[in-house]
């Protein structure tokens, strides 16, 4: 599962995302686009959000202060596609007993193999972001709607776990096309996630973090020698101190927003927090 690379070789692709929270308006277009693109099932009654499947979920966070100092921020949360402290040691991948979720060393994407998952839900317990969802029911589509389902994404049956795949089927299509066209590399614009394309504010930028020509790499400025920690002072990753080493970078000029991305002791300065420990 470990990536094998030397300094002389070109690093493998590492797809990731940068989400500018100062641009996000909380409109939810990313959630809708994601659901439509990935055949995410829904029920007639979705009032219990603990049973709703939302690969992309927008959280509303506040600075906890009273008017006129109250501020709100919307935080879109897809699967963070954690790499862990050594490549592939994601919280979920490392615990799945049946290898039904896997880490791609070629793309950095954490996959979910629906036909292999037997529904033990250990991965859900392991994920601190609650990015994994269980199919408590079989999907039932309104009459006629099944005709509009995407043929590139298999619907999931009852009893298995699902999650954001960074629209991996789009990568497969783009890769096939690129291969057919003189085996060239997949271009930045050829592989974009549905949420990134749907965001009207342009808050979500997606691409290869290892490719300096990609916008996401220039924004996130990941340090390859320090677990891809961002060198951009505006950027942070969710729960970075746990050592999950995620591929989703958030940006904000507001300090309280950056602080809301992790847990800190009362007297702690976020910028001087202790680095995560290596996990076995």
């Amino acid at each position: 599962m470990k990536q094998t690379q030397t300094h002389n070789q070109k690093p493998p692709q590492r797809y990731g995302m940068a989400i500018d929270l100062d641009k996000c308006t909380g409109c939810g277009a990313c959630m809708v686009a994601c659901s439509a693109e990935n055949n995410v099932p829904f029920k007639e009654d979705e009032t219990n959000k603990l049973l709703s499947i939302t690969w992309m979920k927008v959280f509303r966070i506040t600075n906890g202060r009273e008017f006129p100092h109250a501020e709100v921020c919307y935080l879109p949360r897809p699967c963070q596609h954690c790499a862990g402290q050594h490549e592939g040691h994601s919280p979920c991948v490392s615990v799945c007993p049946a290898t039904a979720t896997d880490y791609s060393a070629q793309t950095g994407i954490v996959s979910q193999i629906y036909t292999r998952c037997f529904g033990c839900r250990y991965c859900m317990g392991a994920c601190p972001y609650h990015a994994r969802y269980f199919n408590w029911w079989d999907p039932v589509w309104p009459v006629g709607m099944e005709k509009s389902l995407s043929p590139n994404v298999s619907p999931r049956m009852r009893g298995v776990v699902e999650k954001c795949s960074f629209c991996f089927h789009r990568y497969q299509l783009a890769r096939d096309k690129a291969y057919a066209e003189d085996k060239r590399e997949v271009g930045e614009a050829e592989y974009q996630t549905a949420c990134a394309q749907a965001c009207p504010a342009g808050a979500i930028v997606f691409g290869d973090l290892n490719n300096p020509e990609h916008a996401v790499s220039r924004i996130a400025q990941p340090d390859r020698h320090d677990h891809y920690k961002s060198q951009n002072p505006r950027a942070f990753r969710l729960l970075e101190r746990l050592g999950t080493n995620t591929k989703v970078y958030y940006l904000s000029d507001r300090e309280w927003v950056r602080k809301a991305g992790d847990n800190y002791l009362a007297d702690e300065n976020p910028s001087a927090s202790t680095p995560p420990k290596e996990h076995a």
Partner: protein
């Protein structure tokens, strides 16, 4: 009516009474089976689990029964490997309780997975890095060992024992039992440990995560230790309960005192290690992740500091001290109180490591989520209890579970009546064979 099946020299309640008790436990069992079928046919939407509570009541029940069933492997280790021979008088019951606990755990797991027909994937597509894979392999193997340990007991039934093949098979299996006991202890070390590892490796969950030795988090060792410590207490508690229900003394005091003393010292050493682990987690592990330990016990309606006090002080240190202090250990009321506290303590430990782990928010903007199980979850959790009661009832009635029962409860024959002598030639032949085997054993030693 069933007197031919009842072991020699012991008295059992009338058949109607036995069947009445069986039907009460059977009704509860059927209720659980109905709930189980609902879960299998309609799916896990029959539960109150949700996407924040992927692990809930069933996984707790699983961990708890496996910890309580730890009496089987540890008593076996003490009897067959370490050589505490007195424990031969309680080992049968420890094995039976272990068999019930482990078969229950496997049943609960079969209900708990979303796609039960794919359960074999855990063996076929095994991820060797996953603690749950280790659990599955060791649990299945150990259940096989427990079955092997239980079979000779079944073969000792009065009628089965008359069949020479079964008689000899049982005798030979007994001879090889030390090997199975050692294998069982080895497997138990790993599956009890890996169940602890299931929680301890969750580095995304600061409440459960623990530092590690090599690849094993501290919870790996604590779970094994606690099962070895509290398991014998559970065996002794069920023995006491059986004695109360049957109105008979079934195991001599010296055996009970010995196992209670060992259990007490094991609990004492375990709870000392657990206290050190908790303090290290409070002041090192959690703060390194930006969290004060108080955080895990506030801002919610259920999980307060009381749970920490109950688990470690009230149901940890207290039963340990009662059981290691001889005058208290030898008084039944204190001893049984310690057993009950210990059982609550280890069950509470499994509860917090599963359910509190799920309840605690990790993202700073997330919230505590509490959960109440559905009736289907409760019924399927009670199902193994009813199954256990039924298996104990049948085993106690028809199998010689307690070797000291005959001696402790002699059947008094009224004056002027002759004791019943067997005239069955087959019965005589088997008894002759048993005597000759005993003579051979004596000669061999």
């Amino acid at each position: 009516m069933d007197s031919a099946l009842i072991p020699d020299g012991v008295r059992r309640c009338p058949l109607w009474k036995f069947l009445l008790g069986l039907s009460v436990a059977g009704a509860v069992l059927l209720w659980g089976v109905y709930a189980m079928l609902l879960c299998w046919v309609k799916g896990l939407n029959q539960t109150n689990m949700n996407d924040y509570y992927g692990f809930a009541l069933w996984i707790w029940a699983d961990l708890a029964v496996i910890a309580l069933g730890g009496g089987a492997f540890f008593t076996g280790l003490l009897k067959y490997v370490i050589g505490k021979d007195e424990l031969k008088n309680i080992i049968n019951y420890a094995v039976l309780i272990g068999f019930i606990c482990y078969s229950s755990a496997l049943l609960i797991l079969a209900i708990d997975v979303g796609q039960p027909l794919r359960s074999w994937f855990i063996f076929w597509h095994a991820n060797v890095h996953s603690m749950l894979t280790e659990v599955a392999f060791c649990l299945s193997c150990y259940f096989a060992v427990l079955t092997i340990e239980y079979i000779p007991l079944v073969l000792e039934n009065r009628q089965l024992d008359k069949v020479p093949f079964f008689h000899n098979l049982s005798h030979n299996m007994h001879s090889a039992m030390a090997v199975f006991a050692a294998t069982g202890a080895f497997l138990s070390f790993f599956h009890q440990g890996s169940l602890g590892g299931v929680a301890g490796v969750l580095f995304g969950r600061p409440f459960a995560f623990r530092e590690h030795i090599l690849i094993w988090p501290y919870t790996f060792f604590l779970f094994t230790w606690s099962a070895a410590a509290y398991g014998p207490s559970f065996t002794l508690f069920i023995t006491w309960l059986t004695e109360k229900i049957t109105h008979k003394k079934l195991v001599k005091d010296n055996v009970v005192f010995l196992l209670a003393k060992i259990s007490g010292w094991m609990i004492l050493t375990y709870i000392a290690a657990k206290s050190v682990d908790t303090l290290y987690w409070m002041f090192q592990t959690a703060p390194a992740q930006g969290l004060q330990w108080h955080f895990f016990y506030q801002n919610n309606a259920f999980y307060g500091k009381w749970i920490l006090f109950t688990e470690i002080i009230l149901c940890g240190w207290l039963p340990a001290l009662i059981l290691v202090y001889r005058p208290l250990r030898e008084r039944a009321s204190w001893r049984v109180t310690a057993f009950v506290l210990g059982i609550i303590g280890v069950s509470l430990n499994r509860w917090v490591m599963v359910l509190q782990t799920m309840a605690v928010p990790v993202m700073p903007f997330d919230e505590w989520v509490l959960y109440i199980p559905s009736w289907q979850e409760v019924a399927t959790t009670i199902l193994p209890v009813a199954y256990g009661v039924i298996l104990i009832m049948i085993s106690y009635r028809y199998l010689p579970i307690f070797p000291q029962e005959k001696e402790l409860n002699p059947i008094t024959i009224p004056n002027g009546q002759e004791p019943e002598l067997t005239t069955d030639p087959q019965d005589l032949a088997v008894k002759t064979m048993a005597v000759s085997n005993s003579v051979e054993e004596v000669a061999a030693t």
